[in-house]
């Protein structure tokens, strides 16, 4: 299995008036193609910061990030923007979609940005949205869609351009439980089918059951990595991976 993502000793230090914070502290992790990873941890543990580094949005102070064979630290800002639109798919917690574009247009935008907007692409966008249960909602504007529907449009947008890495920040934050399960299950399925590397930041431990691996952070460090399916199931129900030693 080829790794879509490899990081080595990534460290991000925030300096502020109150002092310096090691928001991400020597994190090394690999994610393979077709692997869906859940990133969890208490508030302030560095999840979003880590995600921003993996997204080529934030430069770490130390360490290296390699995505699809390319080393991010060497890249100029313009190159990073290009890298993001070609190699990375995003879903955000809020303000996911362009408000004046329809569901279909929001997905197609990713193709337009990459200069790959053609008949085949349009067809794939429709299929992907249909797959996510939005076949009847192609022409709706974001404000005419529910939170869950908007998240699903964002998932389609994150996948349409065949990125190497798909990053999702709290994709279920605004969804009810039932919808959340549906959305994340479909998301995980698509990651597996299309052989992308997927990383999802979540507070909702029940969503980790769809992951192939759970990475738990604390104080900027990797506290624990869970990859055994039974342990994952246990973690998703109890918040603890292992039964009493």
């Amino acid at each position: 299995m080829v790794n879509a993502l490899e990081t080595k000793s990534v460290t991000k230090i925030y300096k502020s008036d109150i002092g310096t914070i090691r928001a991400v502290d020597e994190v090394s992790l690999n994610v393979a193609n077709g692997e869906f990873v859940a990133l969890v941890g208490p508030s302030g543990s560095g999840k979003t910061t880590m995600l921003a580094i993996l997204a080529a949005l934030l430069r770490p102070n130390e360490g290296s990030v390699m995505i699809d064979g390319a080393e991010l630290s060497q890249m100029s800002e313009a190159k990073r923007a290009r890298f993001r639109r070609e190699k990375i798919g995003f879903t955000f917690q809020a303000n996911n979609l362009v408000p004046y574009l329809t569901a279909l247009e929001n997905v197609e935008l990713m193709l337009r940005l990459n200069g790959k907007y053609d008949r085949a692409g349009r067809e794939r966008a429709r299929e992907l949205l249909a797959r996510l249960g939005l076949g009847e909602r192609l022409k709706n504007l974001p404000r005419q869609l529910s939170g869950g529907q908007q998240q699903r449009v964002a998932i389609a947008r994150a996948l349409i351009h065949t990125p190497a890495l798909v990053l999702a920040d709290e994709p279920t934050a605004s969804l009810d439980t039932e919808r959340a399960h549906q959305v994340i299950q479909t998301f995980a399925n698509l990651i597996h089918e299309q052989q992308r590397a997927g990383i999802m930041v979540t507070h909702d431990l029940r969503m980790t059951q769809y992951a192939d691996r759970i990475i738990q952070m604390r104080d900027g460090k990797l506290r624990r990595v869970i990859s055994d399916p039974a342990e994952i199931r246990a973690f998703a129900t109890t918040g603890e991976a292992v039964t009493a030693n």
């Binding site: 313009a78 004046y100 940005l113």
Partner: protein, 384 residues
């Protein structure tokens, strides 16, 4: 690179109510700018038209009168001296006063009475009828503005009223020709020969049988382009005169410069208001769009795309607003009676429209700059 245009057009279309409303605000500003320009042109025209169109390159005044036409007095001997100067082709005396034109049914308005020498510089060419006859004591040329206001045409009689001493006197003149617009001192004009002028307004300036005294002498040169040197030559060779070009002459008519600079100031401030309004609108809109712009940058939209989309939007909305405004101005201008000193010259409209088209993007530049500085990190709720 069609994506920025695609984005901006979609945005305008899906928010067409808001953008149309704002276009109408720009249209109103356009209307205001164009009307001020038209008023400046109209008033300026009313003051300078006769002098500006004179068929002579130099306007001669009495020296030391500060180019005041009313105070200037020139006599026949000075005219003869001027004509003798080499390089002078022809010259004619011109005098100015104001009288009341009486129409039937008690309608009346002030007109400029201009005394000229038939066939000499100072007499405007006619577009209809003929020029003043040599011994014409009761003939008149009316300018286009008198014709428009009265409906008079060649062959009609016109009646002037002048106060002589304490006495109201009436004079009937026959219209022999109609010239184009020749307003003087904001009044439409009636052009007559000096003997007629003398009968209607004796003594203003002094005119009599033995000597003809006028306010100005209009000088035609052999080489019009040589006016600068000729003005100096004339002043040197003829006693007691000062010669200037037409532009200097009308700029020194009472109130002309003050009026034009007032209107220019107004025009400038209206444009400034335009910059601020357009700048303000797009700045507020950009502030509202920060999360969206951050998201677009996060998913990899290049800064150039954001800039082009923002600029295109500003330019499009400005073009729309200015076009609506210009169209409304043109339509409105047709409803204006000839008596109102508002002149929509194509040149002024083009300049007004062009400056407004520039003003829009300038006003919007601040918001474009702001959009460029939005950090893609904001999409994740982080700050740099």
């Amino acid at each position: 690179m069609t994506t920025p245009f695609y984005l901006t057009l979609k945005e305008i279309w899906r928010n067409r109510g808001r953008f149309l409303l704002f276009s109408l605000v720009i249209a109103l500003i356009t209307l205001l700018v164009l009307f001020i320009a038209a008023l400046a042109d109209g008033l300026g025209n009313g003051n300078r038209e006769y002098i500006e169109k004179l068929n002579g390159e130099l306007i001669v005044y009495k020296s030391n009168v500060d180019l005041s036409i009313g105070a200037s007095r020139l006599d026949r001997s000075q005219l003869r001296a001027i004509v003798r100067v080499p390089g002078v082709k022809d010259a004619g005396q011109a005098s100015f006063s104001s009288v009341v034109l009486l129409q039937s049914e008690g309608k009346k308005f002030n007109v400029a009475l201009i005394g000229v020498e038939p066939g000499k510089p100072g007499e405007p060419p006619v577009v209809l009828g003929r020029g003043l006859g040599d011994k014409s004591s009761s003939e008149a040329i009316i300018d286009r503005n008198v014709a428009l206001r009265t409906g008079y045409t060649v062959g009609d009689q016109l009646r002037l009223k002048a106060i002589q001493g304490t006495q109201e006197e009436f004079y009937d003149l026959r219209i022999v020709g109609i010239s184009d617009g020749r307003q003087y001192s904001l009044q439409p004009s009636v052009i007559v020969s000096h003997p007629t002028f003398d009968r209607v307004k004796p003594g203003v300036p002094v005119v009599n049988a033995t000597d003809l005294v006028s306010n100005l002498i209009i000088v035609q040169l052999d080489e019009p382009l040589n006016w600068k040197a000729m003005a100096i030559t004339l002043a040197n060779q003829v006693e007691g005169i000062q010669a200037v070009d037409r532009q200097t002459a009308y700029q020194n008519t009472p109130g002309y410069s003050a009026q034009q600079s007032t209107l220019d100031t107004q025009r400038f401030f209206t444009l400034l208001i335009g910059v601020l309004v357009i700048g303000g609108f797009f700045q507020i809109q950009t502030l509202q769009k920060v999360p969206q712009i951050g998201m677009l940058k996060a998913i990899g939209a290049p800064n150039l795309l954001i800039a082009i989309a923002a600029l295109t939007q500003i330019v499009l909305v400005t073009i729309l607003g200015v076009s609506i405004g210009a169209l409304a101005t043109v339509l409105l201008s047709f409803t204006f009676p000839a008596t109102i000193p508002i002149v929509f010259s194509p040149m002024a409209i083009v300049i007004g429209v062009a400056s407004l088209m520039l003003v829009g993007p300038i006003g919007g530049l601040v918001s474009v700059r702001y959009a460029l500085r939005v950090e893609p990190l904001t999409a994740l709720g982080l700050t740099g």
